[in-house]
């Protein structure tokens, strides 16, 4: 099978150019911040109204959505896949394992930008919000990531 035509810088550029409200979360964002981790997936949290625009932006990489926009909005998530995989959270509100309400609009308002390719910036959550997103699924590896994020935060100037 032919590998897909995927180039990471172009992928991020396509998302940025589409002007979708998309926040890079998960381990790929942690890697950008400086954590030496391995991951296969790209994880994004996007605004529920931007699903079609997001899908269109990455269609050039032959990434195909697992659900229609309406189905994705109803389920709160979907993924795009070929030999790359992009997990997309689309819920407007997600609750953490201990029932803390986290709204996309609030995380979006507090987002930080990080340059992931020359002249291309993507949104990532603030450190506090990052820790909250790691409490959505609450797997052992999310707990490990929170411990690393907390350690990094402890180094930040007060």
């Amino acid at each position: 099978m032919e590998p897909s035509r995927f180039e990471e810088g172009e992928f991020f550029a396509a998302i940025t150019t589409s002007a979708t409200r998309a926040i890079l979360i998960g381990r790929r964002a942690l890697i950008a911040l400086g954590f030496p981790l391995l991951t296969r997936d790209y994880d994004f949290w996007i605004h529920g109204d931007d699903i079609a625009a997001f899908n269109k932006a990455v269609a050039i990489f032959e990434l195909f959505p697992s659900r229609s926009p309406d189905e994705a909005r109803s389920a709160g998530r979907y993924f795009l896949e070929n030999d790359e995989k992009v997990d997309v959270l689309v819920a407007r509100v997600v609750f953490t394992v201990d029932r803390v309400r986290v709204a996309f609009d609030d995380v979006w308002a507090r987002r930080r930008m990080i340059e992931v390719s020359r002249g291309i910036e993507v949104a990532i959550p603030s450190l506090d919000d990052f820790i909250l997103t790691k409490r959505f699924v609450a797997r052992p590896k999310d707990a490990e990531d929170i411990r690393m994020l907390e350690t990094l935060r402890s180094q930040e100037p007060k």
Partner: protein
């Protein structure tokens, strides 16, 4: 001197079993116990040193992301089923 033993990759079944174990959802209590477990000074230092090393070796987010992609590809070549897709 004898040759070092050859590394045999784990079977797909073992990989799947480990994946299920590490990707399981914890209860709020289990999760908090994990997050708030005391951190030794050695663990804290190791985290900070590994971040410092990674950022020095790959000074930009772009370089870090590219390095991680290369490392994942290399790792996945030796792990059966590493590219297997998970269900939503």
């Amino acid at each position: 001197m004898s040759a070092p033993p050859r590394w045999n990759p784990p079977s797909p079944e073992v990989v799947e079993r480990i994946r299920r174990f590490t990707e399981r959802r914890l209860s709020a209590e289990e999760f908090d116990a994990y997050v708030h477990a005391p951190m030794s000074e050695a663990e804290r230092r190791e985290i900070l040193e590994s971040v410092a090393w990674f950022k020095k070796r790959y000074p930009t987010p772009e370089a870090r992301l590219a390095a991680a992609r290369r490392a994942y590809k290399q790792w996945a070549q030796g792990i059966p089923g590493a590219h297997q897709s998970r269900k939503e």
